[in-house]
Symmetry: none
Subunit: 129 residues, 4 copies
DNA sequence: GTGGTCTAGACCACT
DNA sequence: GTGGTCTAGACCACT
């Protein structure tokens, strides 16, 4: 379900966050569904429980999951996205860097746009079709 | 010419790399043109010389600039981009993360694609038009 | 009568304690009145019986309710408050933290004082008026 | 400068957060001033560096301090307080609980209000007078 | 030197 | 069983 790449430059807890977000967007994890416990997941992906805990806490801060004390961690009711200016700025900055990198790789505008479409469809495919 | 944001999550040396790449793509820095020396640049942007040095070394490793001993650092002859598999993989991974973030921000596929086009045009505008 | 918020940062048993205290102060629960049994209340608010039991034990420890074996749990004769130093210290510490938080929220001294008065009146309104 | 109470029910990292907020409000820590490094502070208050780090990260998330990579942690430019509804709700809830506790301790409305004033003055006294 | 991440493992409160 | 906190200590990137 979740795959950790130890060689990735992005920290393990970030990889967990990203992949759980992806699973939720794809509908593989549904609203209200229970996530594996910190210990379970840490066992499954062979990672220290603290690392999983950090990922869960960050996801909770973002309002994507919620923990009920003594019961476990659950997928939260997904909010309607609000365009927070600060987060949007960061997004655009990242996109700009991506475009620069694409230029250096000789990837065309069209190719990037196709990939954007492809990934968007992957996210929406399973559950919302 | 180069603006450093001390508070940015991306490290200073990365910011230097990104901005020099951008200046070259935009044609503001031309092939063969001399870059400021490590000391000059570090003075201009008020940054530790080690940090500038690290950026230059990375840019040289990527073949984007070259150092001629005793003469200085110059914009290299820009190679025809080769698609290195590893770098391409990383690129696609980043693009995927961007798309996930866009989903959480409620940004449409079309909107992302428009921004991609806009940034691409910005890169090509000045010199290649 | 009692409303539990599963997502609240304060534990469920604490919420029960606080709300029973509030009901007693407001006179909705009168001295000598019978409280619902642990099972009844746990059924009513859909909570584990252990959790209700824990709340009742703590309320009993504080002398606010009392259990008569085989008869049930009752609102105790309310004692004249004694200023226990330890509890008073904790109270003042909490109040200090509240004031710091008010500062960060930009709430004025007057506003906080007005709210204190308002809540005090709410407690005394129903029964002692 | 910072005193940890190991017996306090509130976690150590929270105590650090609260006390740093207090020091900033009192002007003992000024805008732009460098905080002790994670290791220094952890040594001073005899606590694990991870615990200090957690406190600093939370303070940064709240925009109260900021870390400059490789340089250290500094008191941020203090923002004008904005009344976020959610945070305000929590504040009022806490204040209500405080008032209930005051009732049980037999503390009068006037007494609570005086203490509020006293603590507010303490925060503003040293630097802003 | 600076903070950030991670492991290993203990202990605790809550349900 | 559940997540939260904490210690002890290592390693790493950045300046």
């Amino acid at each position: 379900m979740i795959l950790i790449n130890e060689r990735s430059p992005s920290p393990i807890y970030e990889q967990i966050i990203q992949q759980i977000k992806e699973l939720i967007l794809k509908g593989i994890l549904q609203e209200g569904e229970k996530l594996p416990s910190v210990r379970e997941l840490s066992g499954m992906i062979v990672v220290n429980p603290n690392t999983v805990s950090k990922a869960y806490q960050e996801l909770e801060r973002q309002g994507i999951i919620e923990t009920l004390r003594g019961k476990g961690t659950f997928v939260a009711k997904q909010q309607v996205p609000r365009m927070e200016t600060e987060r949007l700025d960061k997004f655009q900055e990242s996109l700009k860097q991506i475009v620069i990198e694409a230029s250096y790789l000789g990837i065309s505008t069209q190719q990037v746009q196709e990939w954007v479409e492809k990934y968007m469809l992957e996210l929406r495919g399973d559950s919302n079709a």
